[in-house]
Symmetry: C2
Subunit: 344 residues, 2 copies
Amino acid sequence: MAPVEELVAAVLAGDRRAIARVLSLVEDNGESAHRLLAALHPHTGRAHVVGITGAPGTGKSSLVNALAALVRRGFGGHPPRTVGIVAVDPTSPFTGGALLGDRIRMRELAGDPGVFIRSMATRGSLGGLAWATADAIQVLDAAGFQVIFVETVGAGQAEVDIARTAHTTVVVEVPGMGDEVQAIKAGILEIADVFAVNKADHEGADRTAMALEMMLDLNTGPQQVVHHGQLMVVAAPPPEDAGKGKGWRPPICKTVAVRNRGIEELAQAIEAHRAYLQESGLWQRREEERAARTLETMLQEELLRRVVAAHPPEEIASLVRQIAQRALDPYTAVQRLLGEVPPG
Amino acid sequence: MAPVEELVAAVLAGDRRAIARVLSLVEDNGESAHRLLAALHPHTGRAHVVGITGAPGTGKSSLVNALAALVRRGFGGHPPRTVGIVAVDPTSPFTGGALLGDRIRMRELAGDPGVFIRSMATRGSLGGLAWATADAIQVLDAAGFQVIFVETVGAGQAEVDIARTAHTTVVVEVPGMGDEVQAIKAGILEIADVFAVNKADHEGADRTAMALEMMLDLNTGPQQVVHHGQLMVVAAPPPEDAGKGKGWRPPICKTVAVRNRGIEELAQAIEAHRAYLQESGLWQRREEERAARTLETMLQEELLRRVVAAHPPEEIASLVRQIAQRALDPYTAVQRLLGEVPPG
C-alpha cells in the first residue's frame, strides 16, 4: 500500500486514481483515513461547495449535469472552472437503481478530466453518511476541484447535515406539488439559499414559484440552522442578528434542465450567493461552524474510544444490561464509567 | 419550586399536573431534568411503546385516536388499558398549524383521565427532538400509562431515531401513492413492523397493499436499523441472524380510521408484534439497544462538557478559527485539547 505521503502528493497533483483510492479509504473510515484527511486539510477551503437537494423525480441529476457543463465552459464573466460531483442517496438501498440511472446520465461529463464524479450510498448509518460526504468534499477540494456539487435525495436530517457542509444550498421543486407535499418538505425551506423550480415547462410552474414566494413571505427570514453543540456555543456563538432575515432572500429560478433552459440564471444566482457570503463575512462564519462541528465530533469519538478501551467489554455490557433491566439508571452508569462512584 | 422527590412521587401517583410539569422540565433539558429522569428510571420499562409514522395527510392522528379509544375500551381478550400519546412534528415550524388541527381532533380523548396527550415540536435541533421524545416516553411510562403511541410526521432521520425508541413501529400509507413517493419513503420500510393502508375506502387501496407486499418480497427481510455507536458494538453486538428476516414479516392492515374500520385488526397486529418481540427475546434486545444508546450519548455529552470546562473559551474559539483558516488540522486540535501536544 502506498504510504500516506505519496497518496496525498498524488491527490494534490490531481491524479484521478489516487483521488478515487483516497475517497474509498476515507469512506471506509479506516486506520489511514484520519492521517490522510489531516494531511489534506491545509490544502482545502478553496472550493465553492454547492448542495443540490430535492425529492426523487425533481430532476436534480439533470440540473447538476447542466450546471456542471456550464461551469466547465464558463459563463457571464466567470472563467471555466473544474467541477467535483458528490451524489448522495441517504434514503435506502431500495433507491439504488434510480441512483445508478442518474450516474449513467452523467456519463457525458465523465470523459472530462476537469470533472470528478463520486456516488455515495447509505451504509446503515445516516449520521455516518453525512460525515463521509463531508470527508469526500475535503478530498475533492484538496485535489483542486473549484466548484463541488453535492446532490442529495429527499428531505430529512441527513440533508440538513449535508446542507451544513455546503456554502450554498439549492432546493429543487417541481410544478404540481400538492399542499401535503409542501408540508413534508417545509423543513427543507430552512436550508434553502436558492430555489430551482425545475420542469418549469410543466403546468403549474408559476403557481409553485408563487407558493414558494408566499412561504418566504410568511417566514421571518432565512432561518439559521441552529447547531446546539457545546463546542459551537463556546467557539462560534450565533451573531446577534441571526435569523432576522437580513441580507439574503432566496431567489426562485425556473429551469428546464433537460432542455438547458434557465441554467445560466440559476448559476448566476448561485454565484450571487457566494458573493453575498463573502462580502457579509458569512463565508468565514460557515467555515468556523463547520470547523467547530468537526472538532466536536472528533473529540467526542476520541473521548468515548478511550473510555471504552479503559473498561473490559463485559463490564460495559453488564452496565447496559442493568440499565435495560432498570436496576441502574444511566446517570449513575456514566459516573461509574468515569470512576466517580464505586462499581456496584 | 417543588423538590425533585415530591415531583417524582406525584408523577408515580399519576398526578396530571405533575406529569405536565415534569414533561416541560425534561423537554427544556434544564438542571433538574437529569435528576428527574434518574429518579423515574426504575419505574419505567412497563409500557408498550408504539410508533405511528407516515406523511402528512395519511390520517395518522385519526388512526391514533381510534387505536387509543379501542385500547381504552379493551378488545379481543385484552383488558382496558391506559394510553399516552406523544405527537411529534420534526419537519418545521411551518406545520405548526396542521399539528394544532390534529390536537383539536384529539379532544374527544382529552377528557379521559386514562389518556395523556403531549405535543412536541422542533426547537432547532432534530437530534434534540428525538431525545426529548425518548425522555417524554420515559415520563409517561413511569406515570403508569400502559400503551404509549408516538405519532411522527414524514420520513427522515428523526423518524428513524424515534422509531428506535418504539417497540413496534406502524408505518401509515394511503392509496394512490405514485412511484416517486414510494421511493422517497423507501427508507421508512426498514423501520416498519406493521403497515396500515389508511383511507382504504379510496381507490387504489388494494394496489397500494400489493405494492407494499412486493417491496417486502424484494427485501431480504425486515432490516435491522444498525447503530454504529462504539458502546453498542461492545455492549450489544447484533445477533448472528440479524437482518436475515427470520420470524416476522410486517403485516399490512387496511383501515378507514375516520369510520373506525379495520382498527381492531390493526390493534391485533400490534399486539401480535408485541408477543413476537417478547417470545423471541427481541423485546429485551431492543431495551438493551436503547440503554446502550442512552449511555453513549450521556457519556459523550459529559466528557465533552468536561473538556470544554477545562479550557478558556478564547482558547477553543482560537482553535476553531485556526481550523477554519487551515492553519491547524482538527486531528491535531483534538490532541491539543486533550493535552497531548503542546499548544501551538
